[in-house]
C-alpha cells in the first residue's frame, strides 16, 4: 500500500510540473486563440536567465526571480508585437510556422549560449522530505503544487473578476466587436503573451530544481503539458491543474502496474490521451463547448 501511495505522490509531483506549463498554454490559448509551439522553449530561456543571475552574478533568489518574471513578460509581449502580430492576418498555418521558427531559434540559442551541460537550479523551497506512513513526501513538491494552485487562482481572478481580464477575453473571442467598445485588442493580445511567458518562467523555475536544467528542460514537459491542457480543457485554468495532476498520477500508475505500458510507453500514453480527448470530448473536462454560428 505504501508503494502504491508513493507512486501516487510521485505522480502528483510530476503532474504539478505538467500543470504549471499547461497553465501557460491555457492562458495563451484563451487570450489569443493560438497554440504556441514555442511556449516550452521560452520557459527554458527564462529559467536559464534566472540561473545566470543567481549563479554567474551572485544574485539571491527572490530578486533574480522577480527580474526574470519581468524580463519574461517583456519578452513575451515583444514576441507578440514583433513576430506574431504581422502574421496574424494570414492563415493559421503562418502562425504555426512562425511559432515553430521561434522554437528552433530559442532552442538553438540556449545551447549556443549556455552549452548542453546539466546544471542545478536553486529551489525556493527546502529540499527536505517528510515521511508519513512510509511514504516520503518532499516539501519542494508540496510547495510546487501550492504555487501552481495559487497561480491558477490568480488567473481565475484575473479573467473573471477584473476589467482587464474581461477585455482580454473579449479581444480573444471577438476582436472586431471588442474594438467597437473601445478595447485595445492588440495590447490585450500582447498582454496575454506577456503573461503566458511569465507563467512559463514560473513553470521552468519550479521544474528545474527537480528535473535539472539543460536545453531540453521543457521539451519533454511540453508534450505532457499539452496533454494536461487538452485533458482539462484548453480554455480552463482549473482544467490545466486537474488535467496535469490526473495525467501525472495516471501515467505513473499505468507505467508501474501495467506491464505493456512500462516505462517506455509513458510518452505515447500521454499522446494517446490527447488523441482520445480531442476525439471524444474536445472541450476537455472543464472546458466550454464552442458553438460556431453559421
Amino acid at each position: 500500500m505504501a508503494d502504491f501511495m508513493q507512486q501516487v505522490v510521485a505522480g502528483l509531483a510530476s503532474g504539478s510540473i505538467y500543470a504549471s506549463l499547461a497553465l501557460a498554454l491555457v492562458l495563451i490559448h484563451r487570450a489569443t486563440g493560438v497554440i504556441n509551439f514555442a511556449q516550452g522553449e521560452m520557459a527554458t530561456l527564462s529559467t536559464y536567465l534566472a540561473w545566470t543571475l543567481t549563479t554567474n552574478h551572485g544574485w539571491s533568489y527572490w530578486p533574480a526571480f522577480a527580474v526574470t518574471l519581468a524580463l519574461s513578460f517583456a519578452g513575451g509581449a515583444a514576441v507578440h508585437q514583433g513576430i506574431i502580430r504581422p502574421n496574424e492576418k494570414g492563415s493559421v498555418l503562418r502562425v504555426v510556422i512562425v511559432t515553430i521558427g521561434l522554437l528552433l531559434l530559442i532552442n538553438g540559442a540556449v545551447t549556443w549560449i549556455w552549452s548542453g551541460e546539466v546544471r542545478a537550479v536553486q529551489s525556493p523551497f527546502p529540499t527536505r522530505t517528510i515521511e508519513i506512513g512510509g511514504v516520503a513526501i518532499s516539501i519542494q513538491d508540496i510547495g510546487t503544487i501550492g504555487v501552481v494552485v495559487g497561480t491558477m487562482v490568480l488567473l481565475w481572478f484575473l479573467f473573471q473578476r477584473t476589467k482587464i481580464g474581461l477585455a482580454m477575453r473579449a479581444a480573444s473571442v471577438n476582436p472586431a466587436e471588442a474594438r467597437l467598445v473601445g478595447v485595445r485588442v492588440t495590447w490585450m493580445l500582447s498582454l496575454g503573451w506577456g503573461l503566458a511567458a511569465m507563467l512559463g518562467a514560473i513553470s521552468g523555475m519550479l521544474a528545474a530544481p527537480s528535473v535539472f536544467l539543460d536545453p531540453n528542460l521543457m521539451a519533454a514537459i511540453l508534450i505532457y503539458a499539452f496533454a494536461a491542457a487538452v485533458l482539462g480543457g484548453i480554455d480552463s485554468p482549473v482544467g490545466a491543474i486537474v488535467g496535469g495532476l490526473t495525467l501525472g498520477v495516471g501515467l505513473n500508475l499505468l507505467g508501474t502496474y501495467v506491464d505493456f505500458v512500462g516505462a517506455d510507453l509513458r510518452l505515447p500514453g500521454a499522446l494517446f490521451v490527447i488523441l482520445v480527448v480531442l476525439l471524444v470530448r474536445p472541450s476537455g473536462i472543464f472546458g466550454h463547448r464552442a458553438v460556431k454560428r453559421v
Partner: protein, 327 residues
C-alpha cells in the same frame, strides 16, 4: 474539348522532364544523390499539398507516415525478400490505408487541434516503433546496405543499356516516382475531386450545404496524402539504406509542413522549391556557424524571416514576378 487548354502545361511539364533527365550528366554522382533526396521530399510535399493546400487540414505528423512507408519497405526487403522497387506501391497502399483510418477520427478536429493531434502522433512514433522491437528491430533499426533486394547498392545496375551506379539509379528512381506522382495528383485535382477539396478548404459549411460529402473527401485527402508520404518514406529507406526510430523524428514532420508553406501551396515549382529548402537548409545553416546550437538558431531565423518576406512562399514570389512583368 479540354485538351486545348492542356497543351501548354503538358509541354512545359515535358520540358521539365527533359531537364531532369539530363542533369546527372552535368553534375557529380554525389550531387545526383542530393537531388534524389529533393525528389523524395517532393513526393511527400505533393501529398501534403493535397491535404493542406487543397482541403486546408494541417498536419504536423507526415513524418510518421513516412516512417510507416520506410519500415514497410525495410521489413518487406529483409524479412520477405521483396525487391526494393516492388515495395514502393505496397508501402503506398499500407500507408494510404493508415492515413485513411486516421482521417476518420480526424474529421472531428480542425485547425490547430488537428495540428496538435498530428504533432502528438509524430512525437510518439519513435517510442512506438521501439516498443514493437521484434517486428521493427527496435532502437537498432534495420540495415539495408548490401541486401540483395537493394538495387545497385554494391554493383551498378543496367537499365535501358546504360550502367547506373547507386547514386544515379537512385536519382532516376526518385525523380521518375516524383513526376509520376505529380501527374497523378494533377489528374486527381483537376477533376471533380479537386473541386470538392477546394470547396472544403474555403468553407466547410458552404460545401456541406452544397451537397459535398465532407467526411468522404476529407478522409480521402488524408489517405491520398498519407500514401504519398508512404512512398516518400519508402524511397527514403532505399536511399539511406538504414531505418531506425530516430531517422523519422518530429523535426522531419515539422520540416515537411515548413517545406509546403515555404514553397507555397499549390504550384509544382513552389513544391520543388520547398523540397530544395528542406534538403539544403541544414547545410546552409551550418555554413553560417558550426558552434553547437548555432545551426538551429540560423534555421529558426530563416523560417521566421521567410514568413515575413515571402508569406505566400516561393510560389508567391513567382506569381509576383509574373504580375510585375505583365505590365
Amino acid at each position: 474539348m479540354r485538351l486545348g487548354r492542356s497543351i501548354a502545361p503538358v509541354s512545359a511539364f515535358l520540358a521539365l522532364g527533359l531537364v531532369i533527365l539530363v542533369v546527372p550528366s552535368f553534375v557529380s554522382a554525389f550531387r545526383a544523390q542530393q537531388l534524389s533526396y529533393v525528389a523524395i521530399y517532393l513526393v511527400a510535399l505533393i501529398g501534403l499539398n493535397v491535404l493542406t493546400g487543397y482541403t486546408g487540414q494541417i498536419s504536423l505528423g507526415h513524418g510518421a507516415f513516412m516512417a510507416v512507408g520506410g519500415y514497410t519497405t525495410a521489413i518487406l526487403m529483409t524479412d520477405y525478400g521483396v525487391k526494393d522497387v516492388w515495395t514502393i506501391p505496397i508501402a503506398a497502399l499500407v500507408t494510404g490505408a493508415v492515413g485513411f483510418l486516421f482521417g476518420l477520427p480526424a474529421l472531428r478536429l480542425s485547425g490547430l487541434y488537428l495540428a496538435l493531434a498530428t504533432f502528438a502522433i509524430a512525437v510518439s512514433t519513435p517510442a512506438v516503433i521501439k516498443r514493437f522491437e521484434g517486428f521493427t528491430g527496435g532502437g537498432s533499426g534495420i540495415n539495408l546496405f548490401g541486401v540483395p533486394e537493394l538495387t545497385a547498392s554494391l554493383t551498378p545496375v543496367e537499365i535501358l543499356g546504360r550502367e547506373l551506379v547507386f547514386n544515379d539509379w537512385l536519382y532516376y528512381l526518385a525523380w521518375t516516382t516524383a513526376l509520376i506522382g505529380y501527374v497523378l495528383a494533377w489528374l486527381l485535382l483537376r477533376g471533380r475531386t479537386g473541386l470538392a477539396f477546394r470547396a472544403v478548404r474555403d468553407s466547410e459549411t458552404a460545401a456541406q450545404s452544397s451537397g459535398v460529402g465532407l467526411p468522404r473527401y476529407k478522409t480521402l485527402a488524408f489517405g491520398v496524402s498519407a500514401a504519398y508520404a508512404g512512398v516518400a518514406g519508402s524511397l527514403f529507406a532505399i536511399a539511406t539504406t538504414f531505418v531506425n526510430p530516430d531517422t523519422f523524428p518530429i523535426t522531419l514532420s515539422i520540416l515537411l509542413l515548413v517545406g509546403v508553406v515555404v514553397g507555397g501551396l499549390g504550384s509544382l515549382v513552389g513544391l520543388i522549391a520547398g523540397a530544395v529548402f528542406i534538403q539544403f537548409l541544414p547545410e546552409w545553416s551550418q555554413q553560417v556557424s558550426k558552434s553547437p546550437g548555432a545551426p538551429t538558431v540560423v534555421s529558426g531565423i530563416i523560417l521566421i524571416a521567410l514568413m515575413f518576406v515571402l508569406p505566400m512562399g516561393f510560389a508567391g514570389l513567382v506569381g509576383r514576378v509574373r504580375t510585375l512583368t505583365k505590365r
